[in-house]
Amino acid sequence: MSTVTAAGARRARPRAWTRLSDVASRWAFMGPAAVILGAMLAYPIFYTIEISFSRFDLMTFGAVEWIGFENYAHVLDDYRFWSSMKVTLVYLVFALPLQIVLGFGIAFLINADWRGRGTVRALFIIPMVVAPVVAGGIWRMILDPLWGIMNWVIGLAGFGPLDWFGDPNLAMAAIVIIDTWRWTPFVVLIATAALLSLPRDLFEAAEIDGAGWWSMLWSITLPLLVPIIAATFVVRWLGAVKMFDIALAATYGGPGGATNVINLFIYEEAFRSLRFAESAAMAVIVLVLTMLLTGLFLFGTRKLEQRY
């Protein structure tokens, strides 16, 4: 009796051991990423939340006292917070649709069957890999009111010189132009890949039925592309809500806060004005809003995919 259980235990121990080591080796694949993301992503988020509810002491440089929603109340009272939220909203509303429409439009143009297609597609990568801060810098030079080439070109067409960075509306337009210049190629590349993956026989069938170029575009291509357009929108949205470098290099939020996107504003509040608690509260607000809207867009994308 006792020998049987002993033998059973002896047999069971290695089995439990192998199972344990199997589980360990499974988790070992996840391990490095989990440790780094836990330390560098999850912990800072929780720390941000903690700071946002605390009074921040600049002497000890840490959160000292739990004060509830006081920081949030301050932030929501600050007109500059609202105006930079508005600036961010205006930028998103103009830049995102413009990039999607231009990107898919250009992809459609260069998708014609011809020899140079590959080269053109490859060259479209270039603006995309120019660092955003470099993009902001070059465009600052191109749009310079006195020496910039843009005003010279506009002048040739008979329009007066524009003060791109002095006028609030033009500065906003400049930010949208720069962002669109850098990101449209990204949309072009995705759209090109999407167009290439469309089923050919559908178009051949439509052509035999006598469908014109326009009606094929309108009733076959676009409906087929709807899920990809939606997915591209979500990816671009995720990038655009983080926009910081272009505004910093091109306008530094100016003139008078006209292009002060929320990320730049939070950065300034934290690292120039050293108001860490308020900026943490703002960061949490932005985080929650981004998550909610991203979730909403992802949900919408799924719904669209089911419909088409």
């Binding site: 499974r26 988790w27 694949f29 490095p32 990423a33 780094i36 993301l37 560098m40 992503l41 912990y43 800072p44 988020i45 720390y47 941000t48 440089f61 250009i106 143009l109 260069i110 014609a112 053109v120 490859a122 270039i126 890999v129 120019v130 660092a131 955003p132 801060v133 470099v134 810098g137 070059i138 600052r140 030079m141 191109i142 006195l146 020496w147 010279w152 210049w181 449209t184 995705i190 890949a193 999407a194 035999i208 990809i228 997915a231 591209t232 990816v235 995720l238 910081f244 470098d245 910093l248 290099a249 990320n263 939070i266 934290a270 690292f271 932005v286 985080l287 981004t290 998550m291 992802l298």
Partner: protein
């Protein structure tokens, strides 16, 4: 033949339309390339050729700006810093991210679905929400202005990116590959490193290069976590672009800008075939 006979006017018009489309596409491409062309061109100009109306297209090129700026110690040191940080975070994120991506794709883990959702969510985290606490923690630990801090900080957006791309890549591989290796006595690790990694090399390389490009051009974390010793090129460019005290320092801007753009363009063109595929997958599956 018959189709042509049936619709001769339509075909002729569509051939003309095709030419117009191609011309418009090429024109769009040229418009998008112009700012980069203008930057590179201006970087070879002398100061007096930069500030002219109308802008000069023909001039005697000079390497003056490059020489004077590369001699400035801070620019060359920042260039080296940027290389260290980009390569370091690229390597770290490809190892950690590819292993985790493999775990998500192939290994049955309790809670893997939740982890997948969390990764997806983490792509929406605005870096500014991380920058504030990272700075405070790094300051209290005394690790600001160090390469390793920046490398680890960049992993917060690179690892999720690599994980997600490589997960899709591994899902597309046939399962029998590592199953047969494991039946032959390979451990899970052995199967991964001896079988999966070698055949995934193109995907791994292009993902790593794109990660390096993202690290190469990152500004916010570099601005917050470094000040002198480990500072990177984007920080220098932001300084030059925003430098209104010395007037517009376009010579420096164009020269340093060109230096940062050239390696990236070369890399991107080398892997463009896989890059497009990866981007398309990332957009449609991510």
């Amino acid at each position: 033949m018959t189709a042509a006979a049936l619709h001769p006017p339509l075909r002729r018009r569509s051939r003309f339309g095709r030419k117009v489309r191609i011309a418009a596409g090429v024109f769009a491409c040229l418009v998008f390339l112009f700012p980069v062309f203008w930057m590179v061109l201006s970087s070879f100009k002398e100061q007096r050729d930069i500030f002219t109306v109308p802008p000069t297209l023909f001039f005697t090129p000079t390497l003056e700006t490059y020489v004077s700026y590369m001699q400035r110690a801070d620019i060359s040191r920042r260039l080296i810093n940027t290389i260290i940080v980009a390569v370091g975070s690229g390597l770290l994120s490809i190892v950690a991210g590819a292993m985790a991506g493999y775990a998500l794709a192939r290994i049955r883990l309790r809670g893997a679905g939740t982890i997948g959702v969390l990764i997806l969510l983490s792509r929406g985290v605005p870096p500014i929400a991380l920058a504030v606490p990272m700075f405070l923690v790094a300051r209290s630990l005394g690790v600001t202005d160090m390469h390793i801090t920046l490398i680890l900080a960049y992993c917060t957006f690179l690892i999720p990116y690599v994980m997600w791309l490589m997960r899709g890549f591994f899902l597309a591989l046939p399962k029998e590959l590592e199953e047969s290796a494991m039946i032959d006595g390979c451990s899970r690790f052995g199967a991964f490193f001896k079988i999966i990694v070698p055949i995934s090399m193109p995907g791994l390389l292009s993902t790593m290069i794109f990660s390096m490009i993202l690290a190469w051009e990152e500004l916010l974390f570099a601005l917050v976590l470094t000040n002198r010793y480990a500072s990177t090129i984007p920080v220098a460019i932001a300084g030059i672009a925003g430098d209104t005290v010395n007037g517009a320092n376009w010579g420096a801007l164009t020269a340093v800008g060109t230096i940062t753009v050239i390696p990236v363009v070369v890399f991107a063109l080398l892997v463009q075939k896989w890059l497009i595929q990866g981007l398309a997958d990332g957009a449609t599956k991510g």
